[in-house]
Symmetry: C2
Subunit: 339 residues, 2 copies
DNA sequence: ATGAAAGCGCTAACAA
DNA sequence: TTGTTAGCGCTTTCAT
């Protein structure tokens, strides 16, 4: 009994399909008698409206596209999940498309989304999506929201993370515990969109300055990639300094993995010998020992992204909005008090 | 210039929309002259066919639904990614829906998928999807493939993981390195679908038997949940035995996190004091130290799932197929040689 | 080589 | 209170 359609219900109920439509949408007048009968029939025959037909008619697919960058980082899996949930809550479904950096597949992916006539597009943390493609979407009146690595573009809304504060608070935490020599492991700001790296770095610098601490180049490591290996290497260099740091702040939990691997090898304890703070709060809870980290609230991010999308659907030509999401400092006691 | 449609191209080219359709689908005869002109117009105006209209007409949405269970485990993020990639390669898009255990949202989620008239459904590792819902899909002639936690249902194909072997090989590896007392940390087989737990457990048992080793209840811990905490607790109990194991096999990398946290606390070294092997190969590479683990090949799993879906689309009434995917043993030297 | 026309399943304005 | 009707954008058959 595949593919029951409105006319099947109508026929079975002895009415026109317009009447069936009325009971489905609960608008217009329908006699109590017919309503009951039709509702019964819908349940019995398992009728589910065809979204493609609805979409074609209404020019609303109720689909939104989510363009992500491939990344082994659990953070994006979490954001993806949050976006999906928020979308469902608003009656939308999400088509998730992932591109790889430097593979220039974005264009065809975006065309797919246009083909589906998505009602909106979310671009998460993908610094490689060319600006023209975003503008193309906007010119087609398809609402676009960018998450995390955002651009200032007309009619394109942004959900940003307050990285400066997140970073500042983390480093302040270390300073407050008595640390004076704090290492920094981050990523080089060499991507097309770099706000994230720059803000995290300035958060570190500003925290040091706020306590009039020296900024020492030897303590600052900006690596090529967010990777375990780079975290390992940076830590190795830091710990081999004549005067190694007592604490290290890393801008990603992935770096933390590398830090711990190095420290494990040379038998140094956390936080006994070195104190650590990570960023993302993805892997830090799972580490031995668990590591204090700066968490992002995925739910809020997803929620806001959908919110902005809905607003823009309502008014495509409203000025671009930018929402800042706070980070959440998660203390897991991986920073030791020193005197 | 939003929403260019076929008739716009037709009008601009001074032909009927049927001719435009011909050049798009490269079928039927079109004069060279017109083809050039139309192709040019399509590029210039940025025409992209409306999938909803195509779908309505062809009764093929080119969408597949992916029903997952919410899980903090990275494994499912990876499978999800692999499924998406394989789908794209076959010209499909994926609607990913995630349900929470015990929330009984599966029914409405499946109705959403029916509403979208998805061409197929993949159910990944979700033991809570009621059997009737799966059967409902099958009865609507919507191909269904189950991944990892599968059921024997008519017309429902399965992609399974060779957990018995995966587990067997891992434990054999420990035995070959000279270990005689090997702890087991797994999950209690209390889910609606339990093959996974049972096979992993028997893999362990059979490996021990293959070397005529004793099976000791005290070494076997079947926990309530795949969680860091349960891994921690089980390890604590194991290590406090009068005669603790020299090696521990865990059926999930999540357990490994807990193991390492406990061992870190009491200053025991891996593999110096205890040898470890995990399962999933998700977190094990990130641990300090990196842990040997049984990996699943997500790509193969995704690829096979799509393959089976395509086959079933071609022949809905073919007998159900079950494909077994091999695990991959990843040696990271976390098992010590003992004499 | 090209066009006309029907129809996919639905919505909504208009008539009755 | 209900039915009729005209599309939404596309594919495809059948004429021409």
């Amino acid at each position: 009994m595949p593919n029951v359609k409105m006319s099947d219900i109508a026929k079975a109920a002895g009415v026109s399909h317009a009447t069936v439509a009325r009971v489905i949408h609960k608008n217009g007048y329908v006699s109590e008698e017919n309503r009951i009968k039709i509702e019964q029939l819908i349940a019995d025959l398992g009728y589910v409206p065809n979204r493609m037909a609805q979409g074609l008619k209404s020019a609303q697919s109720k689909l939104i596209g989510h363009l992500m960058l491939f990344s082994p980082n659990m953070l994006f899996a979490k954001i993806s999940y949050a976006v999906n949930q928020s979308a469902i809550r608003q009656g939308f479904h999400v088509l998730t498309l992932t591109s790889h950096k430097h593979m220039h597949e974005e264009e065809s992916l975006i065309n797919e989304l246009i083909g589906q006539r998505v009602d909106g597009v979310i671009v998460t943390s993908n610094p490689f999506v060319p600006q023209e493609l975003i503008l193309k979407l906007a010119s087609l009146n398809i609402p676009v929201v960018m998450i995390e690595r955002t651009r200032d573009l007309p009619y394109v809304d942004q959900v940003r993370v307050d990285d400066h504060n997140g970073s500042f608070d983390a480093v302040r935490h270390m300073i407050d515990k008595g640390h004076r020599r704090i290492g920094y492991i981050g990523r080089l700001p060499t991507l097309p969109v770099n706000d994230v790296e720059i803000h995290r770095f300035h958060g570190y610098i500003d925290a040091l300055k706020s306590d009039h601490l020296d900024i020492e180049d030897a303590l600052i490591h900006q690596m090529d990639e967010y990777s375990v290996e780079d975290g390992y290497r940076a830590t190795e260099t830091l710990m081999n300094l004549d005067n190694p740091p007592t604490a290290i702040f890393a801008t990603s939990d992935v770096f933390v993995c590398g830090e711990l691997q190095y420290l494990y090898q040379c038998g140094k304890k956390v936080p006994g010998d070195v104190s650590l703070v990570g960023y993302d709060d993805t892997l830090s809870a799972l580490m031995a020992p668990p590591i204090t980290s700066v968490g992002l609230s995925h739910e809020k991010i997803g929620e806001q992204a959908l919110q902005l999308l809905m607003c823009r659907m309502a008014d495509t030509k409203a000025p671009a909005q930018s929402v800042m999401i706070n980070t959440v400092f998660i203390d897991r006691q991986s920073v030791r008090e020193i005197h």
